[in-house]
């Protein structure tokens, strides 16, 4: 059923979608925001909406179990340089309660007692278009998690998820990143980035995440993306290395 839905969505986007003033962007790692009225999403991507030029809202289908809202605000632009701020508020308790349920992937123990908690992520981005259609982006951010109590908070130490949920076990998680995006001809976009998370929940804890992806612009409204992310990290058990190949389909309206 999900395959049929994806195929129909793809066909609809190719043949019925209205022509876009700009080609597909789907760029979440730079300061670029979607044009006003534009919606972009992917099978594994959040839904992004250009509220107006310079302000982009996004959320994820996981919102059903992990209520969340993100805003990216491009507040500075001069020549080839621009800056943006990203804020994201989420309420992960329903998701964690779900993961602690019987048969839910075995990620958390069934006896987990998840307290009430909010997670606030804030990032500052600075992008330079150092050559035509080649973007270089620096970022720095912090996550905090105001909560009633840390008592019973489960440790979700699954690869790649750990850096994103570690804030639930500590006061703050800091991160920095460097990203590069470039158009290769008219139809391909290459993206490479590296993120570094500082995880004070572990002594000397960190997660270094390089990623590489190639996006193929199939049509004005549809793209395919494939790539891999890697993780070299100090988790509570010690040093670990993981990788995650992925493939995704992206759509725009």
């Amino acid at each position: 059923m999900s395959r049929l839905f994806a195929a129909l969505l793809c066909l609809w986007a190719i043949f019925c979608g209205r022509a876009l003033a700009e080609p597909l962007v789907v760029s979440s790692d730079s300061t670029r925001t979607l044009p006003e009225g534009r919606i972009e999403t992917g099978v594994f991507q959040p839904v992004r909406y250009g509220l107006h030029d310079g302000l982009e809202l996004s959320s994820h289908i996981l919102m059903l179990v992990n209520p969340q809202l993100q805003a990216k605000w491009r507040f500075f632009e001069r020549g080839r340089y621009s800056s943006a701020a990203v804020g994201r508020l989420s309420y992960p308790k329903p998701l964690l309660d779900l993961l602690a349920g019987e048969g839910a992937l075995g990620l958390l123990p069934e006896d987990s007692r998840v307290p009430q908690v909010l997670v606030l992520d804030m990032d500052a981005l600075a992008t330079a278009e150092w050559m035509p259609e080649q973007l270089l982006t620096l970022s720095a951010g912090i996550s905090v998690a105001p909560r009633g109590s840390a008592e019973g908070m489960p440790l979700l130490d699954f690869p790649f998820l750990y850096a994103r949920f570690a804030v639930l076990k500590t006061t703050a998680v800091y991160r920095a990143g460097l990203g590069y995006e470039a158009m290769l001809g008219a139809r391909f976009r290459l993206a490479a980035d590296v993120k570094l998370f500082f995880l004070p929940v572990v002594d000397g804890g960190f997660s270094l995440e390089p990623g590489l992806s190639l996006r193929w612009l199939l049509a004005e409204h549809v793209a395919l993306e494939a790539g891999a992310r890697f993780e070299y990290a100090r988790y509570p058990p010690g040093m670990q290395f993981h990788y995650l190949p992925f493939i995704d389909a992206l759509f725009a309206w």
Binding site: A100, L108, P109, D111, L214, P236, P237, H242, Y243
Partner: protein, 361 residues
């Protein structure tokens, strides 16, 4: 053209990545064991005339917490305070027995369920044992089952004297599981090490055989254990072997329907040993058991070492010590409680320790 190249590169990358071991669960067939040493070394006699040997499945320092797999509770993870409290009791028992050599099973060295306490190092640092060797039987960056998460649990040999050539020998995997379950499941092993005392070569062999398989894996493990003992003995070493063999001695009165068997999940049922009645006959025939078969058969209950129900009492014997040498007569003791061992052991683990004194020729 470009698309074809892209797809080809993507497939190759995916195959290359998938051929790896993403959660780092696998071992070589034969690989060096991990070596440990106590933070402060205790004095060890240079030329002992006897060795006190002990074997104990310490249940990852879980004491009598009711874990989900015992089917008496739903606990999965322990706090560090719980683990340390249980380890203190285990160390107290080891100090009380004062062994020269200890075979331990189910020692967690870096597991989420054990609050990432290195239990082997902790026990070395809190007993008079100085050196250790470790062979992991269950290691994974993450076990996606019941919230277990990161896991590193295995067999250990602890000794007053330095161990040599400590080696982990892989045992066959179960064949009655689907590929995904088997990938994350236990990888049993034989842990072998050598000890040189007064110019006498002593070979130490510890194991923990399969418990729940329905495909003969346990028998293959017992046969491999016996073959390893045979090979070392034939090479001229004085052999000491032991561990949790997960089966009953020949001639056990009760072989099924144990009162503590409350699990309905087939993954955790180990309650019927009737088909295994003679699986240990070879070991009993070739080696001196710490508890002689006639002693056991005369009074099974005095030598029971296991129950999963912490509110009950030991109801079967699963733990063994064998040697190619000779045990001191009447030195074997199954430490069941205050009366038989000088300390209550029911609260410490789901297994009771077994000790015996070996005469050195």
């Amino acid at each position: 053209m470009i698309l074809a190249s892209f797809v080809r590169v993507l497939l190759l990358c995916t195959l290359a990545l998938c051929a790896c071991d993403p959660f780092h669960v696998e071992f070589d067939k034969i690989e060096p064991a991990e070596r440990y040493q106590a933070g402060e070394l205790s004095a060890a006699p240079a030329a002992p005339t006897q060795l006190k040997v002990m074997t104990w499945n310490v249940k990852f320092g879980g004491g009598r917490i009711d874990f989900f797999f015992d089917c008496f509770g739903d606990r999965v993870l322990m706090s560090k305070a719980e683990v340390v409290a249980n380890l203190e009791a285990i160390a107290a028992k080891i100090r009380q027995v004062d062994p020269d050599l200890v075979f331990l099973q189910e020692v967690d060295i870096n597991s989420k369920r054990g609050a990432f306490v290195n239990q082997l190092q902790w026990l070395l640092d809190h007993t008079d044992l100085n050196h250790g060797a470790y062979g992991s039987q269950w290691r994974a960056d993450f076990v996606p089952s019941d919230g277990l998460g990161a896991m590193d649990d295995g067999n250990a040999i602890l000794s007053r004297w330095p161990l040599r050539d400590a080696t982990r020998l892989a045992l066959p995997l179960r064949s009655d599981q689907d590929a995904l379950t088997r990938y994350f499941y236990l990888r049993r092993n034989i842990l072998r090490a050598h000890l040189e005392l007064a110019e006498r070569e002593i070979a130490l062999v510890a194991t923990h055989t399969d418990a729940y398989g329905d495909d003969g894996t346990k028998l293959r493990h017992i046969e491999a254990f016996e073959a390893e003992l045979d090979a070392l003995r034939d090479d001229g070493a004085l052999v000491i072997g032991g561990g949790d063999l997960n089966t009953l001695p020949p001639g056990s009165d009760k072989q099924h329907d144990f009162p503590d068997a409350v699990c309905t999940d087939e993954d955790f049922i180990a309650d019927d040993y009737r088909a295994e009645a003679e699986w240990l006959a070879g070991l009993y025939g070739s080696y001196a058991p710490a508890v002689a078969l006639e002693d056991y058969q005369a009074d099974n209950a005095a030598h029971f070492t296991h129950t999963v129900d912490g509110r009950g009492f030991w109801n079967r014997k699963l733990d063994y010590l064998f040697t190619s040498g000779q045990w001191q007569p009447d030195s074997a003791l199954t430490h069941q409680d205050q009366a038989r061992g000088g300390m209550e052991t029911m609260p410490l683990s789901d297994h009771a320790p077994l000790s015996a004194v070996l005469e050195l020729p």
